[in-house]
């Protein structure tokens, strides 16, 4: 976790980069705009998105951010939901995993615009549910958590897997976790926790 001082310093850096880049971008755009403006004005196109609405952890939310922005940034920066983390930023580690309509997705690869009208559940939302609590308890009991950085993503992957397959085989469990990396390599304990969940708590996901 970042300390208060660090995050303040970070946001200063962010703002600096943000203003630098946005001034650069707006210059480029204004040049393009001059030539394109007339053609665009003639073709009035509707449906350009100004707001994105979706359900976040059970609550309807609205965002007027750029719809191409990553869902990950919206969650962390605008909603303070920092359980989803940026590990690799290119869909290889699963640290940013969230549930989109109850299926696991990488929020670092998900543009905000594509979650319009959909249901997003983060680890914070999942933790409040009986399913989330049950997964958490199983992970504790089976020693599935070591350093903890992959745990939110692993729990999301577990929920997604069990939601669609209540009786997974070991191979199916490993397949279900295949997009999530554990840097402590504690995979066997995670697989055992999920096997227990499937054997003993399967009714939760029926």
């Amino acid at each position: 976790m970042l300390s208060g001082a660090n995050s303040a310093a970070n946001s200063e850096i962010y703002n600096k980069i943000k203003s630098e880049i946005s001034s650069k971008v707006s210059n480029e755009v204004s040049n393009e705009m001059n030539s394109e403006l007339s053609s665009k004005a003639n073709n009035t196109v509707k449906n350009s998105m100004s707001k994105v609405t979706f359900v976040l952890n059970g609550q309807a939310v609205e965002s007027s951010e750029n719809p191409t922005k990553r869902l990950l940034d919206i969650l962390r920066e605008d909603h303070g939901l920092v359980g989803a983390k940026e590990g690799c930023g290119e869909g290889e580690c699963g640290g940013c995993a969230v549930l989109l309509d109850y299926k696991i997705v990488n929020s670092c690869l998900t543009p905000l615009g594509s979650v319009q009208d959909k249901q997003v559940i983060t680890i914070e939302g999942l933790s409040l549910s009986t399913e989330g609590q049950t997964i958490k308890k199983a992970f504790e009991d089976y020693g599935s958590v070591q350093c903890g950085i992959c745990t939110p993503g692993m729990m999301i992957a577990t929920a997604s897997l069990l939601h669609h397959n209540q009786k997974p085989t070991e191979a199916e469990i490993r397949e279900g976790l295949s997009g999530n990396l554990c840097r402590c390599t504690g995979y066997n304990m995670i697989v055992k926790a999920i096997q227990y969940l499937a054997d003993e708590k399967g009714e939760l996901w029926c």
Partner: protein, 315 residues
Amino acid sequence: MVLSYRPVSYADALSILTKVPVTIIAGGTDLMVKKRSWSNLAPTFDGDVMFVGHLEEISYIKKLEKSNQKRIHIGATITLEELLYHKDTPEILRQALGVMASPAIRHTATLAGNIGNASPAGDSLPVLYILNAIVVLASSSGERQVPIEDFILGPGKTAINSDEMIKEIIIDDCNFGTVYYKKVGGRKADAISKVCFAGCGSKVDGQITDMRVAFGAVGPTVVRVRSLEEACVNAHRALQLSVSEKPSEDGLVEPSKVNFDQGDESSNSIAREQLDSETVKKFADYVRPIDDQRSNAIYRKQIALNLLKDFITKL
């Protein structure tokens, strides 16, 4: 300012395409990496974008029969995961999808996106070449059908026009006796292939009647050489004929009574082995990989040809 469009319908999407040039986003799993920027900054799209992943009209998998040929139509917004678990998905495609990316990526990524991205290492592409995939491109002025080998022109380059979008992909619905898909990557999931290989074949009465192979990541586009496939099938037929036409003891040729397996087995298998090695040698001329950050040309070529050999032996 980059604008984002979200068409209310498929027809609406086509009408937007006629008015503004846009980058089409279905799942976005490739584009969001390509256009990646700093954390908490918008990706670096250099023009407007259009989200299409939600369009229900082009989210279908249909089996249709046209002049005795069964074909499967896959809508552009069908995700890889939906396709992976669909009952009509051909086994060879199912095998490729099963080792592609990870569940998280497959939940949003699409087959149309894998084609549009036109990466030499696209894992579904060798299979689509084998299944004679046709890409259906739609614009507000109509549709056109382009075979996949004419659609993908090179790395990241396709024959799509700025007012067109992929509407569906049509593939052959074949029942092959042998299907073989192998991906060689640095990791089981989420790896970009060093080499990928797809092979399909069928036999009737011990005779190879159909043999198709395609290689990924060994050239700017997928490599499929139909003339060599045909030559291989013909060579196998000739070999079997020469075996079955062996005169019987009384000197009469009775092909129908002679069984391939009852002939001189060791000499047959030697002849078959020789034939297979020759086939592999012929394909070697077409497998021309490069060195890059994921692998090198020597390794890629050797592995690709080993996979071909393994497939032919199992055929």
